[in-house]
């Protein structure tokens, strides 16, 4: 049981790490404003989600009422982040379009 929980936790942390690394690379390497926002949004939702799931499961190893409550609070964080982070990305993109910033294309590289 102990090994099972630990391996699940490690797997989830690893997935989160992949997403965080990819997201950070994307923010640094993508060519323009809109494309850079895309990895930033993914990083917040998917990376953080798998991290917090890992913490939840690790916290539930000694199953008591208190640890259950703490895990539920962590899941609430995931819920609110996954609600607000895509909305924030959407709002920033919307503001960029309204301000007249044109998306990057292969022909028009000024973006």
């Amino acid at each position: 049981m102990h090994i099972l929980i630990n391996s699940i936790v490690i797997g989830l942390l690893f997935i989160g790490l992949i997403f965080f690394t990819g997201g950070t690379l994307g923010i640094l390497r993508m060519p323009d404003f809109y494309t850079r926002l895309h990895p930033a949004g993914k990083l917040d939702t998917m990376g953080l989600m798998s991290f917090v799931f890992a913490f939840c499961i690790y916290n539930l190893e000694h199953l008591t009422w208190d640890s259950l409550i703490v895990s539920l609070k962590m899941l609430l964080i995931v819920f609110f982040v996954s609600l607000s982070s895509p909305t924030a990305t959407h709002a920033i993109v919307d503001a960029g379009i309204r301000a007249g910033l044109k998306p990057w294309t292969k022909k028009n590289k000024e973006g």
Partner: protein, 277 residues
């Protein structure tokens, strides 16, 4: 004049930096703070104040004066922002401009005449106030704002048990109203909580803090000596200290919330309170 001011600032800074050299070193075991002050708080704060969180008991009880004047400083910041930025001159109404964007080039053209109406596929009418109308943002903010406010109240009320307190809770409360102003528009936020209300609230917070202090004076104690509140509350003096701290935290939260919103509204609308982000 600027040079004189610069010299004065540099001199003051030099004096302050010179004074820091007399301070005890970071983490010094033999400094007075580690020898007398911290052990006293760690030993007696729970039995004297009935507050599990030592930081809160130091902040709101042992050093209540400090926190009171911090609150006053925040009130003064809001007042200064209001006095510097607020413009009451509504008579000179600027002619409403209409903005069109030329889609292929991205150039934005401004028309000062009202009766311009371009119906070309290359041109697009842009909101002159630059207020984004967006269903997604509005809906999500409508869902989130109540939760943010509940969490703020939790932080305020739970300040004496866990990290948190008036300043943090007030900032979160203010941020929820600012989120309303950003996601809808400034007018909606001002309709919900008017300028007069904000001014009164920012003063009420400081008044609650100082009022609790004066109440202790009236009950024949020292200023901010919450233990004396036990004379009018049906609890023992130690519990009364926790209740006094809670009252003080609520005052701080009200001031911080109002000042946050005042600063945001005045800066975002450049003092006109009409349009903005």
């Amino acid at each position: 004049m600027k040079k004189v001011a610069l010299i004065v600032v540099i001199l003051c800074g030099a004096i302050l930096i010179h004074a820091t050299s007399e301070f005890p070193k970071w983490g010094e075991i033999n400094s007075p703070a580690s020898l007398h002050v911290s052990p006293y708080y760690i030993k007696y704060s729970v039995e004297q104040t009935d507050v599990p969180n030592i930081v809160t008991s130091v902040l709101a009880d042992y050093r209540g004066f400090d926190t009171m004047f911090e609150t006053t400083v925040i009130f003064c910041a809001g007042l200064a922002c209001f006095l510097l930025l607020r413009i009451f001159n509504d008579k000179e109404e600027e002619t409403e401009s209409i903005f069109y964007r030329h889609i292929p080039s991205g150039i934005i053209i401004e028309f000062k005449n009202h009766e311009v109406d371009i119906r070309d596929e290359d041109f697009e009418l842009i909101d002159s106030k630059f207020v984004p109308y967006d269903l997604i943002i509005k809906t999500v903010c409508r869902i989130l704002i109540p939760f943010i406010q509940i969490f703020a109240l939790y932080v305020v009320a739970h300040g004496d048990f866990s990290p948190g307190g008036g300043f943090q809770g007030g900032v979160i409360l203010g941020a929820s109203i600012i989120l309303l102003a950003i996601s809808f528009n400034l007018k909606t936020a001002i309709e919900k909580i008017s300028e007069k209300t904000l001014g009164v609230l920012s003063a009420i917070g400081v008044f609650i803090y100082a009022g609790i202090g004066c109440l202790c004076l009236i009950l024949k104690g020292h200023f901010l000596d919450y233990g004396k509140l036990a004379k009018i509350l049906p609890i023992d003096p130690v519990k009364a200290r926790a209740i006094g701290m809670l009252g003080v935290e609520i005052g701080v939260a009200i001031t911080v919330m109002a000042v946050m919103i005042i600063i945001y509204i005045n800066i975002a609308s450049q003092g006109k309170h009409q349009e903005g982000l």
